[in-house]
Amino acid sequence: VSIEQYVNERAGRSGAGATVGKGTLEIETASGEQVSVPLPEDWSSAFDLHHAFPGRARGDQREFLLAATIQDAASASGVPEDKELRKGLAEQGVLPVPDDVQRNVLASVMREHYWVRPDASARASRPFAFPFHAAISANYKPPGRYKMYRSDILLFLCWDGQDFDHAPLEALCNLLSDSSGFTLLDEALKDAAVQSRGEEAITEISANALLASTQAVKVRDYLANGAFHQPALDRFRADLITALEMGLPRHDRVEAAILTLSLHLALYYYEVAYLLGAGLDSATHAAAGSGPPPLPPFAGLLRFRVGAAGDRPVRREDGCAAAWRQLDDRYLISLMPNLGAANLLHGVWRAARPAEAPPNADPRALAAALAQDSSLRSVVDVAAGALALVYADQDASASDSELGAIAASEQPGIYLLRSTIHDHLRGELHYRSRAVVNQLVKRTFGGSLIRRRGSVLFFELDEELLFLLVKFVLRRQGDVELPFQQFLAGLAQYGLAPQDRDEEDELAESLERLGMLHRYSDAGEAMYVRHLL
């Protein structure tokens, strides 16, 4: 049985007709509306939603985000791996010491202090240099083949709706190029990195160079019609400046920048995954004529427990574990299929209603349009079912029985499309979703939001993130101090909320122990959150 027959059989179930042409899918609904839907030339491009994600990132060390940004800003290419610098420290003339004994002592200390050993895994266990200055990362790249974002993600997150916001980019580049706040050994390492690269050595980076880079051209093009979720980008820009302006020592500010980028990017993944998934759920309902159900806001969905109070047991029923299952196990892991479905459905919408469909895919808007337009519902339902078949057919693993089952299915078209993509990507779902987020915020040290205890995965906010979030929320509200309840409302804007009332108390106590909450009376309303710095 050919794909044309399956497609026609599927369309015929609703009295419509469909044929697969050369690069197009031709639809004729029961009411006679004819639509020619273009098919992707390269099906992998169907999983790019450039105004939501500027690249096809996979999981990698979060510190490399900064290192890659430095390299883009420095236009560095073909630089050696930082293991060369590590090894070279013990060579004569690299460190300014008079003899071999002293050189060996310093080299061994610096190798331990400045190189970070990632969590051991088969793929990434080689130590890498902490990018505390541009001279390190611009002249030496991290080990291995880098898989996550380059500077595109920083530029993307710095989009203000019209153009790149220069302020956070400049603040970051200035910090990474500035040589003040160095210890004797910081200086020795920087000098070693510069000296050993000779005339090719790069000592500083600038925001202007970053803004003129190919990455900037690419991201500007992607965002020409707006970002998928601008509020998240607005939060990031403000918070990055807050982090960089904190009264912290130089190294800690670099660390704060990495944490800010990691936290925001992880929360962004969750939020976009949720908006896409819930938006497609909504579109599925709307396409069935039942009207789109209200989309609950993301605020407060990421229920966490506090990790600053020592180790505690966790149960699967706990809010922090249930929230992980909802956001990660349901929406985040389905990010790829939902990206694909959103793109393909948007293609149908644009083909059917070129004047009404927005330039960028957004299932929330599609759901609203479907609720208003019954003939569009028919087009989308027929086209989605046909696209499910065409998508399955282009995969060599598809069987006749699978295609037959799709064609005979009673399920609505959008549902079929999502589930078909999901089934075909089953083995690689996590690469571009969970693996990225886990690398960003599932850590055994400094700045972790996701934890595993036994078989239970859950959200747990550690001290480092709490330290940053208190500063972010206070700065956002423009206050030096904030009533505890208002602080919680501020956290909710990030999607974060204590898992229950007891956890609110636990959070207050943890903040108090950490010196960031003051009680002015025994009554709850007089608890004020204030930052240490």
Partner: protein, 591 residues
């Protein structure tokens, strides 16, 4: 038939009413009960406020603030009755609600109307008693989005004076005095407790029990621990002894106890930590004990037995100050001698009776008869001796005594006294250096080196920087004057404030060293590993140490490094070769 005249009031019942859980514990301004009137203790704060109110300097707005039970309502009552004509508007009832309802916010808005932005102030002074939470909630309630709520000047002034905001106070055309009763010392010099004990003396005809007329008819006074306790606690050196305990207990938590907490403590002290709730007439419990010939019951409630074994918040903190738990020859001698000569033990207890504390004799007889264990007798005799001769018994341990000296010097430093010779604060600095070195870094001899934080905390840092907290490096470390007195000297004066913590600035992070923190530092300096909760309290310090390390390193301080895989440390410093070339010198420190 009862061995006392039931038609007369039970004095024990009156004492029982002083407990924090009693219905009459909460004072309502303008509606104080007879007991509350009788229990009121005038303080220096009241005198200063009356003086201020009657002077030409009387502020346009007088705010009496503080936590629940701090005495706001009682104080405002006194002020109003003493000089009502000075105040145009008085708001006495803004104290008890936790959250202002819409109506309460309106009431407060009306009250504060003369102090709104751009308003010149009232014709006559305004007086308000409000807990801090209520004031904060008021400003939060009237905040309307990003807009100005019209009381920004007042808000900045009150928040600044109360130490809630670092935003500078705006200039106002009117004057304000803010008295935060939480800052008022309630025990120790100028405190309330000594007078409270006098008011509860059963012999005091103008006291709370009006001389306890029922006791004159009572046939079983020798079985009444409450009467005897009231006499012991208010006689001789005992009031000062008990006051000293309460003052030290406040220092132990770094916060003064409220009058309500003190009354609760007094009630527990006199009742032997017994609620006397089982009989409608609490005196019946005494009669029952007499009928049973139950001397143990009396002893278990007698002050020397119960003083260091009480419950309640303050009682619990006094418990740890028990001199019999401190390592002293005097305590050891008393404990060791107890139970060897029972007659001598009983006689030692009898010394506590200033006359009229008849239950002491009852218990002394029991001791003489060998009916009380030597250990319990020994501890009771230590307490007895402490109540009789408090000056001979240092309260608390050596650490708290050392901290008291530091606070004393710090008060003078904060008041602007000559700062050229500050041995106690200097010793605190040295302790801090040592504790930081031990807790976070390494000590090489007496020189502390603090770690330069490695990015990955799983690997201990191997690079340390010498961190000397000398006074001239003001950007790294300095002792700050007491913040309460600095931000509002007049408010601190009116509240007769004495600091319970030393505020220091370390690497740009300000934190308070109170007695619990001082204990941690002492423990850390001797190498004791802190518990998890202690470590959380160290969080601010840890952040400060990180900043300190960077700041010190930034100034070119020499480093100490630890070679991985070796137990060897090296000093790294800048130097020059004979040819003038800048190099690093790496010298072994220790093995």
């Amino acid at each position: 038939m009862a061995p006392f005249d039931r038609s007369l009031d039970s004095p024990i019942a009156a004492i029982r009413e002083l407990r924090a859980s009693a219905p009459g514990a909460v004072v309502s301004a303008g509606a104080m009960t007879a007991l509350q009137e009788e229990a009121y203790v005038a303080t220096e704060t009241e005198r200063l406020l009356l003086e201020l109110a009657e002077s030409e300097e009387c502020p346009d707005l007088l705010v009496i603030s503080g936590s629940a039970g701090s005495g706001k309502s009682a104080l405002i009552d006194r002020l109003v009755s003493a000089c009502e004509e000075r105040f145009g508007t008085v708001l006495q009832d803004a104290t008890h609600s936790d959250t202002p309802t819409e109506g309460q916010a309106d009431v407060l808005s009306r009250f504060f109307a003369p102090f709104a932005d751009g308003v010149a102030g009232p014709d006559r002074a305004s007086l308000i008693a409000a807990n801090i939470g209520m004031l904060l909630a008021f400003f939060a309630a009237i905040r309307n989005g990003e807009g100005d709520h019209g009381f920004r000047t007042l808000e900045t002034i009150l928040k600044h004076r109360l130490g809630i905001s670092s935003e500078p106070p705006r200039d106002a055309p009117w004057t304000v005095a803010v008295v935060n009763l939480d800052l008022r010392p309630t025990a120790g010099p100028g405190g309330l407790l000594v007078e409270m004990l006098g008011l509860t003396d059963f012999r005091n005809p103008s006291g709370i029990v009006k001389g306890a007329p029922r006791c004159a008819t009572c046939q079983v006074r020798a079985w009444c621990p409450v009467r005897s306790n009231s006499i012991i606690a208010s006689s001789g050196a005992a009031p000062a002894a008990i006051d000293g305990l309460a003052a030290r207990a406040a220092a132990e938590r770094g916060r003064h106890d409220s009058p309500r907490q003190l009354w609760d403590f007094v009630a527990r002290l006199l009742c032997g930590d017994d609620g006397f709730d089982e009989r409608d007439d609490p005196c019946d419990a005494v009669a029952d004990a007499a009928e049973r010939d139950d001397r143990k019951w009396v002893w278990e409630r007698l002050l020397p037995r119960r003083l260091f074994a009480m419950g309640g918040d303050l009682g619990g903190r006094v418990r740890i100050l028990d001199p019999s738990s401190q390592p002293s020859a005097r305590a050891h001698g008393t404990l060791a001698r107890a139970g060897i000569r029972w007659d001598a033990d009983g006689d030692a207890l009898l010394e506590l009776d200033p006359g009229g504390a008849e239950a002491i004799a009852t218990c002394a007889d029991d001791i003489k008869a060998g009916q009380v264990s030597p250990a319990v007798t020994g501890r009771g005799l230590v307490a007895t001796n402490y109540l009789l001769h408090p000056a001979d018994w240092p309260v608390g341990d050596a650490i708290s005594q050392g901290f008291e000296k530091i606070l004393e010097e710090y008060s003078g430093f904060s008041a602007g006294e000559d700062g050229s010779h500050l041995p106690e604060l200097e010793s605190l600095t040295r302790l801090l250096e040592k504790a930081l070195g031990r807790s976070f870094g390494v000590l090489e001899g007496d020189t502390p080196y603090v770690p330069i934080k490695a990015y990955d905390p799983r690997d201990p840092s191997r690079i340390f920087v010498r961190a000397s907290l000398s006074y001239d490096q003001s950007n790294i470390y300095r002792v700050e004057p007491d913040p309460a007195a600095s931000r509002d000297p007049e408010g601190a004066r009116l509240a007769t404030h004495r600091p319970l913590a030393v505020t220091v600035q370390l690497g740009g992070v300000a934190f308070a060293i109170n007695l619990p923190m001082y204990r941690l530092l002492e423990a850390a300096a001797t190498g004791t590993v802190a518990s998890t909760s202690d470590l959380a309290r160290f969080y601010g310090l840890r952040r400060a140490v990180e900043a300190l390390a960077r700041a010190a390193a930034d100034q070119g301080e020499e480093l100490a490094v630890e070679r991985p895989g070796h137990a060897r440390r090296y000093r790294v410093r800048k130097t020059r070769t004979i040819g003038g070339q800048k190099i690093l010198a790496v010298e072994e420190l220790s093995r």
